[in-house]
Amino acid sequence: MAKLTIDTLTKHFGSVVAVDRINIEVEDGEFVCILGPSGCGKSTALRMIAGFEHPTEGDIRIDDSSIVAIPPNKRPTAMVFQKYTLWPHMTVYENIAFGLKLRGTADATVRRTVEEGLELVGLSGYEKRYPSQLSGGQQQRVALARAIVLEPKILLLDEPFSSLDALLRVRLREELKRIQRRLGITTLFVTHDQEEALSLSDRIAVMREGQIEQLADPSTVYARPRSLFVADFIGDMNLFEATTDAEGIRLGSSLLRDSGGVEVDRKVTVAVRPEELVPAATGVPPEETWEIAVEQTMDLGHYLKLLGELTGVGPVKIYLPKSAHANVVKGRVRVTPTRYLIYSNADAPVEVVKRPHVVAR
């Protein structure tokens, strides 16, 4: 298999910098997601790897040899696009066989490979159908088969499931992961869907305005987002403006005693995941707990989502196990964070883990 190296890759469109000196190494057999909001440059980066855009600067290497000068039809990459890209005048069989035939593969081998490809994506028996006779999900599966049968060194996927409905998206995501594992193919997947990135990737590169904000495995990106942008973009997060003083961190009338060593008199942002705000035990000093006025309770099946207001600070989200609902009394609940991150400047955040005083869930 193969290793992909993206080295200070840059793309300018006129005066607009779409991709700004990004570096990613995708190891052999690894599944890496580029995650970011629309317009962050993720698709442009992928298109440069596929050969549809020429980098302004930087290099792309597969197994340490540069592919920048190679036209897209000769690159050892294969791409699955966001839009449906099956050729409408060809059957499913012809679509998948097209690339193989261009390579001069013998007919018998083409037939066998196409059958294997269709079996892999669960569409055996669909050979004679035309794309217009397939659902969106089936079309994207055929597109995946069309890419995979070519045995590319690198598989590129540009939001392939974004036009499908939620349920199908989850199913295809699981299927893709299974296929990728089975084939051990080095994969780069572009998406704006954080859930997709978290569930698929070995590592995630979070992009913003052409740059990579953080490149790490999903649990690190979730637990210790490198920047406020990542903190806000990945998962649900409570962000509170606060200041540090001699006693700790002040959030309105509430206090966090542990300021993680951040200097006093600094403006900081405190980030707390909704599931890391838990009902405070009775013994906790009141000034160290936060009283939340609950405005809305949503039953999300396996947990409760509370939307409320932290007095004098701002809106807050809390995920509670259903068993903890008794802690909400007259629309109010006292909570305390078990863990929080303090962002004080451009550097990485300070993490504070606070275990005592917590009720058992």
Binding site: N73, T77, M79, T85, W87, R103, A147, L150
Partner: protein, 265 residues
Amino acid sequence: MALLIVYPAALSVFDTLTATSADGSTRFTLESYVTFFQLPDALPNLWFTLRITVVTVTILFALCFPIAYYLRFSTSQLSVPVRFLALFPMFVPGIVTAFALIRFLGDNGWIENILFSLTGWEGWVSPIAKPQGIVIGLVWEGVPVTVLVLTAGLSQVPNHLIESARDVGANGRQVFFRIIFPQIRRSVMIVLTLNFLGVFGAFTIPLLLGGASPQMYGHYMANRLYGIGQYTHAQTAAVIMFLISAAVGTLYVRSVVNQRMEKGE
């Protein structure tokens, strides 16, 4: 439509296929066709018309396809003036075009004068009074619609279908012949049939350009009718033109219907 088109057309066809006997009864006969084709110029003019039509349609396609292709895929600023120039003839009436071409290409026209004043060359032979003159005029007239239809057909092939073909290994030629062309087959068919119908039935340009003989059928028919007053011959010529056009028109209608059905309309 039935009253204004089908009825008079059927009447004409019926007229050419019947004759009134001495006793006043109507009988079926191909007499008018037999006598028509006995005219010394009827068949040569028909071949001439078909030849001019095929040559013009071929040149139009060969000329306009690259223009349409360029307009579809170019991102250059140059495509704006190219588009303007390609569509410009649409806004010029045929009769103006004919006289402009005579002034431009004809004897003592601009080309001849410019060539003479620049090089002193006197060998210019004007194509205007020859069959080539008709072809030049009809090509000029046909460019806008041809470019429009082909550009529309080409824009129905989205970039991502082309990119995905490049991605699996197709080079430029393979992308064109295996991906683009099969998807614009219908537009090509439509443009060929439309141009055939337009050129085959052209009147103004063949009347003003080209020589006195042979004549294209529109011109020939008018001559039979107004020049010599041979009503039956003119009507027979008209029916022949109509049948040939209808046959080609069927191809056009079939292309359009197939396209609609493929799109599921």
